[in-house]
Symmetry: C2
Subunit: 335 residues, 2 copies
């Protein structure tokens, strides 16, 4: 039975293992520094489909079957899939899992979806309800760009705080029995809005939520950053990461060399013309599901705090003059 | 610890009570047969806000505070909110709960959101992680119509299978201690797609998923329809309800007089010009959270199966020629 610590952290009682992870990404991500960790790199941005939206579903679906294969589990071993994406009506996930013959919970946490799924999945396993749960998320540069900003054909210029939506999907299987790092405690986040109205500055919209959740986690657990090998945010990018560091400093927390961000890790910011780095549900999902799990298996990581961050950006509301709420969920993973 | 029954049903171990429910609806819903059960009826479709999207957030937020008030709980008693809506990026919920200072999980299950929230919420309580969880969902005719179909100003004609999106929000508090009916078992659903491409025939897109989940539930529990006072679907409307009855009959299940549908209950189909009835996340959420809980408190219901149904309609994908996946989640509620 999960035990509540402080205001919003939950210590898991059962052994919840990350049994396996998989990620399939696009060409640009395959040109980045983490290329060799991904299970597949798709050169065709349509992934053999007729539309970008269908391509994203295809990548997510293939990632799901890949993680099943890598874990040695059958589809019938999976109690639930917890998944979501950035598209309106979570289209990528809805179509990826139709007819997959598996009970499905659709999530919307924008780019925080992967850690939202990990929290709910690990609590469902802790409750005894589930033996095996798949947590998955995806994004696609082409489907996201035309939905949130401009048609690709428009060739709009990128602003200095913009990020590049990752084309890719990541999935892990959580289970009660097996090997792999364990999820030991979780801190679900609150929605915060500090008034950022620039739809090209997601990092600033998410950094306050990331700071809030990290502060809550450290306070609830009585830990400091030194208790972690890595505090890994989802896709704050370089601007948002600087802002997070600053916000935590104001609360007397020094991240020192403990912080990294999936958005700055997945691309080479010097060479790949992505401005502040990667973003999108698929960014933290693919980095966590492959590179991070690999670092655990090599013994290079012992304990991390994975904090996927979501800008709950609604183009409709920003066009109405509204600011952008953010959310961040934290998951502690230990060898 | 929850116990798995059959292929996809979970029997809860702990006492999970529906402590209180609340709903706030629009004028048309307030002219319907369930008017006296709702906590508030808003005559102004803008609910005092400047846009329909802001109005929907306002109604959802007010419903959340109303259910807190009715339950006597403080905001700090709530472990998590589980909520979602129909708008792109679940805009209504994201903005309703920003700065509400409560850990939040965003869900996307289209009109199945309320039962998706009830399943996750009851399993989280069963796991011992949570003492009190709020499950909430909303929809708004004006925000949904312009997002999914046509601008209101266009004055488009309604087709014979169309439904009317409910303006309203419903919320319940689940808790471990108190009074009220209990959630005793849950059957999460799978995504099914039987090839319906008509965005004005949601009932047909959802009925196969509803039939699939009800069949799984009855098989897993070894029960028949006679074991229930009511099998309550979310918003199949009159066309989808007929289709559900037919699909179950082909599987030798006769719903007899046990079935009703929130979409046909919330409006007077003869007089209110809603064609096949109500729809939207707010439809089943508001009916379940008020009228149904009232029937329990009066002793008129002893055991029901609440099956909110979602058409995972993506206008982008239907414009690309795709069909509409559906999903349904079942929750057994007992006095």
């Amino acid at each position: 039975m999960a035990q509540k610590l402080g205001s919003q952290t939950y210590l898991l009682d059962q052994q919840v293992y990350v049994l396996a992870g998989a990620a399939i990404v696009g060409k640009k991500e395959g040109d980045g520094p983490l290329a060799r960790y991904f299970d597949d790199i798709i050169d065709d941005e349509y992934a053999g489909e007729k539309t970008f939206e269908a391509a994203e579903s295809r990548i997510l679906r293939d990632t799901y079957f890949k993680v099943l294969e890598k874990s040695g589990k059958a589809a019938t071993d999976i109690n639930f899939v917890l998944s979501g994406d950035l598209l309106n009506q979570c289209t990528a996930a809805s179509y990826a899992f139709r007819d997959a013959d598996v009970p499905y919970f659709g999530l919307f946490g924008a780019c925080s979806t992967m850690s939202e799924a990990l929290i709910l999945g690990s609590l469902l396993i802790d409750s005894g309800a589930a033996d095996n749960v798949v947590c998955a998320a995806s994004s696609h540069f082409c489907s996201a760009e035309r939905q949130f900003r401009f048609p690709l054909e428009y060739g709009s210029q990128r602003t200095p705080t913009s990020q590049w939506t990752v084309t890719g999907a990541g999935a892990v299987i959580l289970g009660t029995e097996g090997q792999g790092p364990r999820i030991t405690c979780v801190t679900p986040g609150k929605i915060l809005d500090e008034g950022i109205k620039d739809a090209n500055n997601m990092g600033a919209a998410m950094a306050p939520a990331a700071a809030d959740t990290i502060l809550a986690h450290l306070k609830d657990t009585g830990r400091s950053c030194d208790d972690y090998d890595l505090i890994l945010t989802g896709d704050l990018g370089s601007f948002g990461s600087t802002m997070l560091r600053e916000l935590l400093k104001r609360n007397n927390i020094d991240l020192k060399d403990k912080h990294n961000d999936c958005g700055t890790m997945i691309f080479d910011l010097e060479k790949q013309d992505v401005v502040c780095g990667g973003s999108g549900c698929g960014c933290s999902a693919s980095v966590f599901s492959t590179y991070i799990l690999d670092q655990f298996s090599q013994g290079l990581l012992k304990r991390i705090l994975f904090v996927a961050t979501g800008a709950l950006l609604s183009p409709t509301r920003t066009q109405q003059g509204e600011s952008i709420p953010g959310i961040a969920h934290a998951v502690c993973v230990e060898a």
